[in-house]
Subunit: 246 residues, 2 copies
C-alpha cells in the first residue's frame, strides 16, 4: 500500500496482545475485529482494510452491516487475482484453520466460476515458522511438503496464499512445488483494490506529498520490530501502545 | 492434580481467547494474569495454581503482592525436582521466549545451588507442533535437533521441560537426546507441591469423595476438546465460556 499509494497516511493497528486470530472461534474473532474497527474509526480514518484473512473470513459481513465507512477485506482481491488467469481450474488454498473452516474463499471462488475444483488445506504451523524466522530451515521444507503433497497429487494449477504472512515463503514454495503451479498472493491485489476503491469514492489524497505511517500495537513485544523490518524492509519508526475496548 | 488430590474440586480457567502467553510482553502477561486470578477468586476458590510457566515467570511476584489467597507457580516445583538429583550440574532449560527471557528459572536455580552451568533455549515452535498433533512427525524431530544440539554439545546432564505442553514430547525427546540426560517435568512435582501446601494450610478436602472438574475457557474453539482429551485421557465434560475483566 505504501508503494502504490505513497501520499496516503496509514494508521496500522496490530492486535499483538491477542494474536493469533487464526485458531480462534468465529464469535471471538468478530468481537476482536469490532473492537479493532472502533479503535480506528475513533482516530478518524477514512477507510479500513482488514489485512487478515481470518478476520475477513469471519467478521467482514458483520462489520459491513454495522459501519458505514468503507471496509475492505483481503479475500475478494485474492479471489479476483486467482481467477484473472483463464486457465485456473484446480485451486488449492493454504490458510489458518479459521480461514479454511469458514469456507469464505471456497464460497467466493465458487460464486464467480462454475466447475472449479477447490482444495482447502489448513497450515497452522507456517505462521510460527515464519515468526521464528526459519523460512530457509529444512524443517520448513518438510512441513510444507506434508501440507502440500496432497494438493499437488490432486493436480492443482493455482495455489492461493490465503494468509498475510505467507508471501515471505514464496521462494521456498517455488522450490517445493512443481514449476507449473501458479502462486497467488492477495497482498498486492489488495493494495490495487484499495486504490480503485479510494479513486471511485473520491477519497484519494492529492499526489506529491509523503504519507505518514503510524503503528499501534496492543502489546509491545520485542519480536515485532524485527518482523516489521522483514516486511517493510526499513525501520518501522515509533510504535504506540493501543488500548482497545474503551 | 486429579490423580494426586482426587477429592478436590478443580476449577480450570483457560484463556484461550488470548493465548499463547509465551510470546507476549511482561506487562501484558501481568495484566492478563491479574484478570485470570480475579475471575477465579470471584468464584470462591481456596488456592490458585498458575499452571503456565510464562505467567509464573512474569506475574507470580506481583500476584503475591496483591492477593492474600495462596497462589502457587510451576517454577519452584520444577527447580526443586531438577536439583533433587545431587549430580545435576549442567542444566538445560527449554521454554517459550517469554520464560527464557525472564531468567526466572535461571535465577531460581542459581539461588539454590552455586556452580551450576545453566543453558536456556527458547523453543517457540514446540507448542504449535504439539497443538497440530505432530508429536511423531519427522519435522518435530528436526526442530528438536536444531533446538537441542547446542545444549547437548554443552554437555547438559539435566533438561528441564519448562512449559506445560512439553511433557507430551517426552517419548520423542528420549529418542533425540543422549540416554544419560535426565528429563525434568514440573507438572508432577507441581501437583505434589500443591498437596503439601494444602496440607500445611489445613485446606485439604476430606478424602473419600469425588472432586468435580469444571472447565472455563475465554474462547470455545473446536481444538480444545481434542487437546483436553490428549492431556486428561478422557472427555473433559461440559465447557463454560468465561468472560474476563468484568
Amino acid at each position: 500500500m505504501q508503494e502504490l499509494l505513497p501520499a496516503e497516511n496509514i494508521l496500522y493497528l496490530g492486535d499483538t496482545a491477542r494474536l493469533p486470530y487464526g485458531s480462534k472461534s468465529p464469535e471471538t474473532i468478530r468481537q476482536f475485529a469490532d473492537e479493532d474497527v472502533r479503535f480506528l474509526i475513533a482516530r478518524g480514518v477514512k477507510a479500513i482494510v482488514v489485512a487478515c484473512n481470518t478476520a475477513t473470513a469471519h467478521a467482514l459481513p458483520s462489520l459491513h452491516e454495522k459501519y458505514r465507512i468503507p471496509i475492505l477485506g483481503v479475500i475478494e482481491p485474492g479471489v479476483e487475482a486467482a481467477l484473472a488467469c483463464p486457465n485456473a481450474e484446480r485451486i488449492g488454498i493454504i490458510a489458518t484453520r479459521g480461514t479454511i473452516r469458514s469456507h469464505a474463499y471456497q464460497h467466493a471462488l465458487a460464486l464467480r466460476k462454475t466447475g472449479l475444483m477447490i482444495h482447502g488445506q489448513a497450515t497452522p504451523l507456517l505462521v510460527p515458522l515464519i515468526e521464528e524466522n526459519w523460512v530457509d530451515h529444512p524443517a520448513t521444507r518438510q512441513v510444507l511438503k506434508t501440507y502440500l503433497d496432497p494438493l499437488v497429487e490432486k493436480g492443482i494449477d493455482t495455489l492461493m496464499l490465503a494468509c498475510t504472512h505467507y508471501p515471505l515463503l514464496i521462494p521456498v514454495l517455488q522450490q517445493v512445488l512443481p514449476a507449473d503451479v501458479r502462486l497467488v498472493d492477495s497482498a498486492t491485489t489488495c493494495a490495487e483494490h484499495l486504490k480503485k476503491e479510494l479513486t471511485r469514492l473520491d477519497l484519494l489524497e492529492a499526489p506529491g506529498r509523503d504519507g505518514a505511517l503510524e503503528l499501534h500495537l496492543t502489546d509491545l513485544s520485542e519480536e515485532f520490530e524485527l518482523l516489521a523490518r522483514q516486511f517493510l524492509k526499513k525501520s518501522p519508526g515509533r510504535i504506540h501502545r493501543a488500548v482497545l475496548g474503551i
